[in-house]
Symmetry: C2
Subunit: 125 residues, 2 copies
Amino acid sequence: MSKQLPLAAMDACCSPLVRAPLTQEQAVELSRLFKAMADPVRLRLLSLIASHAGGEVCVCDLTDAFDLTGPTISHHLKVLRESGLITGERRGTWVYYRVHPEVLARLSAVLTPEGSEVETASSAK
Amino acid sequence: MSKQLPLAAMDACCSPLVRAPLTQEQAVELSRLFKAMADPVRLRLLSLIASHAGGEVCVCDLTDAFDLTGPTISHHLKVLRESGLITGERRGTWVYYRVHPEVLARLSAVLTPEGSEVETASSAK
């Protein structure tokens, strides 16, 4: 009853690379972005921004959605902004936050196994 | 020379939600995954696995790619495995690691701004 692997599987120990994996420099840079996202509040903020029409939202809509103080929300928005995941722009009374589709596309590409390629960031130019 | 916003922009302070943002529970769960990815070595390991044909790779190919000791690589693979991002299966001499496309698709969806929807995980069933 011993399990025997088919010969083909034993020969083919190693499947070939079908695209270039991340370099160390890229990994260091991207890990900073993932670190910024590794927090439930920041993840919800990012999701809220990305879920609004045009990928943009007024800060007033963000603060209303959380049971947190304004300064706490502001702190998390600052971390997201400094990481480059979002931008903030004051227009009149409110600050409007917007996701960076190119940055998100890069992160998303890392998460996509071969065979289900996504568009590269350059196509969004 | 004061900048005046067009009336339309002033009226439409808040763009509508075009899809459901993450709930708090989903955000807590997903933030664990992003935390597992918020490390350059783990990110490169994940990228290497996802870059191989079939989204699977022999551990022998992973250790060769790094200037790190076996136990260090093993530790990082364990963190990835425990987070649910990858699975490991022993076949003969080697352990083969494989990405979880459904999990990666969920993370990828969080990163996709509205208007550029990706396929949902259920389509990979």
